[in-house]
Structure formats: structure tokens, C-alpha cells
């Protein structure tokens, strides 16, 4: 067991930091809030292009698709450094982490050649069309339906909470082709297809982040289907396993906490009570980091990730919650015209326990799969 970075990992981290030093503008921290704001989306497009040019966008992808087969630590170190400065890749992190790799595994040759190269060049933004008004954590109750008419599918339904939908080029869409759990299919849907209406939902988590997407007689060719009909469940499971570690949220949380503690000390306001709360938040950040590293290490070794991934997720939610609460209590100006990065963190932190599977779902998984407690009768 070894908790130190090797020389190669340390060197890679410095490369990423050097890149950020050169390529983040002086006013970056004021742009970074609202992960899908117009300003950030525009910035991310250019930024991802630059990352791609120096081989820092998709290093963990196969060479065939513009990567260099780097190990999971490389992509995680990259993700940590990006998240710690406010995720300048914007929504493109989804392409990099799981949409691209999922297409590599399940896509047809035509789908791969059409969709993967623009991702590898950092030119395209995707959104994820999973949640619906009546299907959040319970995806099996999804209603949007895709009906086959000769060589096309006609899609009708409604998606909600869809991040980045306002600016996305394509949607990784989940729709029903038959009743039941095995009747779900994935469609790769260009967002300029007629029949799609996107409505921004004003929210607490930043400008332009979440949306409703209405699908009215949206017609796509059968080549838009990913894998076969009814294969969504196994595809989504693979996609989720690629995304198991999730966002290294602890990286920004830890940085924000450092920053607030430093300013409290400078102002001589770092009381004993604040000290205990800061230690609690700092410990939670470190716990989230170690749980997440454990999952990355399992992926590096090629061992299956088990319920520890849910524990990692819950630990991450806890660290976000504690840091966000610390900031609001001890640096209230964060939400009132103060440090823009603290506001950006707040807006990201409050959604940590909701996005990509509610914290309570993670607790259920820990209870059943890690502790072996009997399931709740349904």
C-alpha cells in the first residue's frame, strides 16, 4: 500500500498546472460560475480545443481515437486539476469521461466516425437525456417513447433537469421502445432535429444550467439507435461504471476551504469553533479523496468496482455539504457579491447529493451490497 504519487504522475500534474497557468485568463474566476452559462460555454469550446492540441483532452482514450491509452490515474489527475479551478472544460467533461468511451464500446462504425472525432478535438458539447418529470432516481419508470416507422423512429416525450441542453449539439437520449425494464433504448440525437424544444429552468445552481427538453414527433433515422433496441440498461450500466468515481468534487471543496480559512486567519476571525468545523470539513474532503482514489486504483488494476463506489459518492456529498455550510457561516459575502469562486463552489456543491443518483440511493446500495442488510420490501 502506497499513498505517494510516482514521478510520472507528479510530472503529469505539473504539466496540467502549467497548462492552466498559461491558458486560464486573469478573469477566469468570474467566468467560472454557472457551468453552462453562455460565457463559460464559449470559453470551454476554445479551451478544450487547446487541451486537445497538446494531448490533454483525452489522454486515456485509445490511440485510434486520439488518445494515448493513459491509465485511469492520468485522467483522474487531469479531472482533479480541472475541477479544482472550476472546470474550464464545462460540459465537455462528460464526453471525455463516459460518452466517448461508451460510443467506442457500443457504437456502430458510422456512429463512431461521426461523433467521436469532434469530441477528441474538443469541438462538441453533449447533454444527457435521462431524467423525466416522473422518472428521476427511478429510471425504470421512464415514459418518453420511440416508435418505429419503417426506417425511422418517431420520438415523443419530455426530459427535465437536462444540463447543458441549451448549448448542446447532441443528446445521449434514453427512450422507451417497448414496455418494461428491457424496453429502454438509447438514441444519439442531434439537438437541431425538428421537434425539439429546449426551455431553460431558472435555478439555484447557476445561469443556463438545467433545462426542460420537449420532444414532439422528433424523427430520427434508425441509425440513431445505439446498440440494439432494449439494450439501454446494459449500456447505461457500462456508462455509469465509467463514471463511477464521478467528479473529483473534493478538489475544489478543499481549495475553497483553504481559501476561506486563510482569509479568516488574516482577519483574525478564525475562532476555536470555526477551527473545529474547518477540521471536520477538511477531514471529509480527505475521506472523499481516499475513497475516490480507491475506485480509481481498482479501475487501474482492472478489478470490478463494487459498492465502495457508492460509499465514495456519499463521502463526496458529505464533503461538499460540510464545506458549503462552512463557507456560508464563516464567509457570508460568498453569496453576496464576494469571491466569485466561492459562489461557483456553492452552486456546484448544493447539487452534489442530487445529480447522478441521489445520495439516499447511494446509501441504499451501501446498505444492501456492502453491509448485506435485507432489502426494503416493495
Amino acid at each position: 500500500m502506497d499513498f505517494a504519487w510516482d514521478d510520472q504522475q507528479a510530472a503529469f500534474r505539473s504539466t496540467v498546472r502549467d497548462f492552466l497557468d498559461v491558458n486560464l485568463p486573469a478573469d477566469w474566476e468570474t467566468i467560472a460560475h454557472g457551468p453552462a452559462s453562455e460565457a463559460q460555454t464559449k470559453f470551454s469550446q476554445e479551451f478544450c480545443g487547446k487541451l486537445a492540441q497538446v494531448g490533454l483532452l483525452v489522454p486515456h482514450w485509445p490511440e485510434r481515437w486520439g488518445g494515448r491509452d493513459a491509465d485511469p490515474w492520468t485522467s483522474f489527475i487531469l479531472a482533479e486539476e480541472m475541477w479544482a479551478v472550476g472546470e474550464p472544460r464545462g460540459g465537455q467533461y462528460m464526453n471525455v469521461n463516459w460518452i466517448g468511451p461508451t460510443l467506442m464500446k457500443f457504437g456502430s462504425t458510422q456512429q463512431q466516425e461521426r461523433f467521436i472525432p469532434p469530441m477528441a478535438r474538443g469541438e462538441t458539447l453533449w447533454c444527457q437525456g435521462f431524467s423525466e418529470p416522473e422518472a428521476g432516481s427511478d429510471l425504470a419508470s421512464l415514459r418518453s417513447r420511440a416508435e418505429k416507422h419503417e426506417s425511422t423512429y418517431r420520438i415523443n416525450g419530455q426530459k427535465t433537469w437536462t444540463s447543458y441542453a441549451g448549448a448542446a449539439d447532441n443528446c445521449f437520449l434514453l427512450a422507451r421502445t417497448a414496455p418494461g425494464k428491457n424496453g429502454l433504448s438509447i438514441f444519439l440525437l442531434p439537438m437541431d432535429t425538428p421537434g425539439i424544444t429546449v426551455r431553460n429552468i431558472p435555478s439555484l445552481i447557476g445561469d443556463g444550467d438545467i433545462h426542460e427538453v420537449f420532444l414532439d414527433d422528433v424523427e430520427v433515422p434508425e441509425t440513431a439507435l445505439l446498440g440494439g433496441e432494449g439494450e439501454a440498461w446494459s449500456i447505461v450500466r457500462t456508462a455509469l461504471s465509467l463514471e463511477r468515481v464521478g467528479i473529483p468534487r473534493f478538489a475544489l471543496a478543499c481549495r475553497v476551504l483553504d481559501r476561506v480559512v486563510a482569509s479568516l486567519r488574516k482577519a483574525e476571525h478564525f475562532s476555536s469553533a470555526a477551527c473545529v468545523e474547518a477540521a471536520r470539513a477538511r477531514a471529509a474532503c480527505e475521506v472523499a479523496r481516499l475513497y475516490s482514489y480507491q475506485i480509481v486504483d481498482q479501475r487501474r488494476q482492472g478489478t470490478a468496482t463494487g459498492p465502495e463506489a457508492s460509499a465514495a459518492r456519499f463521502a463526496t456529498v458529505t464533503c461538499e455539504r460540510l464545506v458549503a455550510a462552512f463557507v456560508v457561516e464563516h464567509c457570508p459575502e460568498a453569496l453576496a457579491g464576494g469571491d466569485a469562486m466561492l459562489l461557483a463552489h456553492h452552486q456546484r456543491a448544493i447539487v452534489a447529493g442530487i445529480a447522478s443518483g441521489a445520495a439516499e440511493i447511494q446509501l441504499n446500495l451501501v446498505a444492501t451490497e456492502m453491509l448485506g442488510l435485507p432489502r426494503e420490501p416493495r
Binding site: 500500500m1 502506497d2 499513498f3 505517494a4 504519487w5 510516482d6 504522475q9 490515474w73 476551504l257 483553504d258 480559512v261 486563510a262 486567519r265 478564525f270 476555536s272 477551527c275 473545529v276 474547518a278 477540521a279 471536520r280 477538511r282 477531514a283 480527505e286 475521506v287 481516499l290 475513497y291 482514489y293 480507491q294 480509481v296 486504483d297 481498482q298 488494476q301 465502495e308 460509499a311 456519499f314 463521502a315 458529505t318 439516499e360 447511494q362 446509501l363 441504499n364 451501501v366 446498505a367 444492501t368 456492502m370 453491509l371 448485506g372 442488510l373 435485507p374 432489502r375 426494503e376 420490501p377
Partner: protein, 301 residues
């Protein structure tokens, strides 16, 4: 970064588990608090397990793993300080067992210790125990407790030495707490799987499942922090590990007793052996407040 135990560390855990197999059940007739086993201690000594931290290929991480595993037993002995702290006290020159006496308060294993670490405020000193006048105390803490009846004359360790010993005291506390928490969680899960109310196992009620899952996540977190601190020997990592151990212990102890109901109030069920050891650890090294200040000093730039 490598989160797998090395082959040697994995073999060590297997050997420790083999040795401790006969100590895994509380004797049915035992209805007390300090369930101590001299035989366990002798067998660990005979197999040279107290020297794991200085054994090539095992190291302090191996020692922390061993402490964590052994803390899961209903039986106790002075293990953590011997395995993790002793090598850092004047080059391992003092004989085990060790005990820590803080600010004149009762301490664990003080009556049986051969070497004493004596903490007064910020100073830390080491002394042979033979000169000390000791009085054993009945207590609920599930460790043998005793106090010094007279002050022992000591020379404080130089600050750098004292800081190093404090770091390893924190690692030892966290590694032991992680094992105690794990055993308490396991015993509670076993109860929740078999005890039925309203026609179904208690463990199928989401109100309890979520609380148990939170306890399990906290426990795993304490274990990771302890192992990391043992690996890096960093003052900040040790402070985080000890802080998180003490901070989580209060909540875990409350939740687990709540779930065991009246059964957890009996001395027949072993839960108290782990939870009252955790309660003993809560106040050590100055308690959570002191760990928090150490975190502030070493972890915030």
C-alpha cells in the same frame, strides 16, 4: 498510489486473523467491561507481531493494518502503542507494554505498562513504569484503567521528538478506533438481519439502513485516513485521522446502541466492549478540539 496491501501485508493480516481466531467470541459468562487476554498478548509477542512496523516489507502500514484487525476482537491487550508508537520513542529503547497518562487522568493499561508516556499540557515525557505508584480503577471503558497516585519525575522530550511521538499516538488512536468501529458495525448488522419487528427484519427499514450505511462510510473513512497517515507519517494526515476517528465515534456509538435497543444495554451482548473502548478514545490526546487545532496548524496553508 497503490491501494492494495502488498503480498507481505496481506499475508500479515491472514496470520493475525489466524492467531486471533480463538479470541473472536466473548465468553458467555463474561458480564464485565475490561475483557483482557494475556494469552493474546503473549502469542502476539511470541510471533514478533509487536515489531511489524520495523519489519521490512510490512512497515507502519502493516502495523496499522494489524492494529485495526486486532481491535475488532472482543478481547483487548496493549497493542496499538506497542506496534505504532514504541518504535518512535527514543529509538524503541523502552520496553512494552506502553501506556499514556494525560494530565494526571486515568489511562488505559497504566497498571500493566512497563513504559509510560506522560503528557502534561503541551509537554510529553517518557518514563519507566517501575518507579510509578499506580492505582487500578474500576471503569466502564472496557479497557483496564489505572492512574498514578504520585507524580513521576520526568524529563520532557525535545519538541521535535515529542511532535513525532504525538503524530504516532494519533495514528495509533485512529487505527484502533477504525477496528473498534468495524466490529461494532458488524455486530449491529448481524442483529438487524435477524431481529424481526412488524413482520420483517429491522435491517429492511430504510430509516435504519441509511443510518447504518452512514456509519459504515464513516468507519471506512477512519480506516483510510489511519492507513494513509501510517504511510506518510505526516503530522497533518495523523491529525486528520485522529480528528475524524474521535468526531465519528460519538455518532457511531449513539447510532449503533440505538439500533441494538435494549439488547445493546446488556452486558451479555458484546457491543459495549467496542463502544465503551471508543468512548475511552474520545478524550485522548486532548479530544476532538485538540485534533482540530492540529489539523488547522498542519493542513491549512
Amino acid at each position: 498510489m497503490d491501494f492494495r496491501p502488498t503480498a507481505d501485508q496481506a499475508a500479515l493480516v491472514t496470520a493475525i486473523d489466524g492467531l486471533s481466531a480463538q479470541f473472536r467470541e466473548k465468553p458467555i459468562g463474561f458480564h464485565g467491561f475490561a475483557l483482557v487476554s494475556e494469552e493474546l498478548e503473549q502469542r502476539l509477542a511470541a510471533a514478533e507481531f509487536f515489531d511489524v512496523a520495523t519489519t521490512p516489507g510490512l512497515g507502519p502500514v502493516g502495523a496499522a493494518m494489524a492494529v485495526e484487525r486486532l481491535a475488532r476482537l472482543p478481547y483487548t491487550a496493549e497493542i496499538a502503542l506497542s506496534m505504532l508508537v514504541r518504535p518512535h520513542v527514543l529509538g524503541g529503547a523502552f520496553p512494552r507494554p506502553f501506556a499514556l497518562v494525560e494530565n494526571g487522568r486515568p489511562g488505559r493499561f497504566v497498571a500493566s505498562a512497563k513504559s509510560l508516556l506522560i503528557a502534561d499540557g503541551e509537554t510529553l515525557a517518557v518514563a519507566p513504569a517501575r518507579a510509578a505508584a499506580v492505582e487500578p480503577i474500576d471503569s466502564l471503558y472496557a479497557y483496564p484503567m489505572a492512574r498514578l497516585t504520585k507524580k513521576v519525575a520526568t524529563k520532557p522530550l525535545p519538541p521535535k521528538q515529542a511532535a513525532e511521538v504525538r503524530t504516532w499516538l494519533r495514528v495509533a488512536l485512529a487505527a484502533e478506533a477504525a477496528g473498534l468501529m468495524q466490529a461494532a458495525v458488524d455486530a449491529t448488522v448481524a442483529h438487524l438481519c435477524v431481529r424481526k419487528q412488524f413482520g420483517r427484519p429491522l435491517g429492511s427499514f430504510q430509516a435504519l439502513r441509511h443510518r447504518m450505511a452512514e456509519c459504515a462510510v464513516l468507519t471506512g473513512g477512519v480506516r483510510w485516513l489511519a492507513l494513509k497517515a501510517a504511510s506518510t507519517a505526516d503530522q497533518g494526515d495523523a491529525a486528520l485521522a485522529a480528528f475524524h476517528a474521535q468526531d465519528s465515534a460519538t455518532r457511531i456509538v449513539y447510532d449503533l446502541h440505538q439500533m441494538l435497543g435494549a439488547m445493546g444495554m446488556t452486558l451479555e451482548h458484546p457491543l459495549h466492549l467496542w463502544t465503551y473502548r471508543l468512548k475511552a478514545l474520545l478524550s485522548e490526546l486532548g479530544g476532538g478540539g485538540a485534533q482540530a487545532h492540529a489539523v488547522a496548524r498542519h493542513c491549512f496553508a
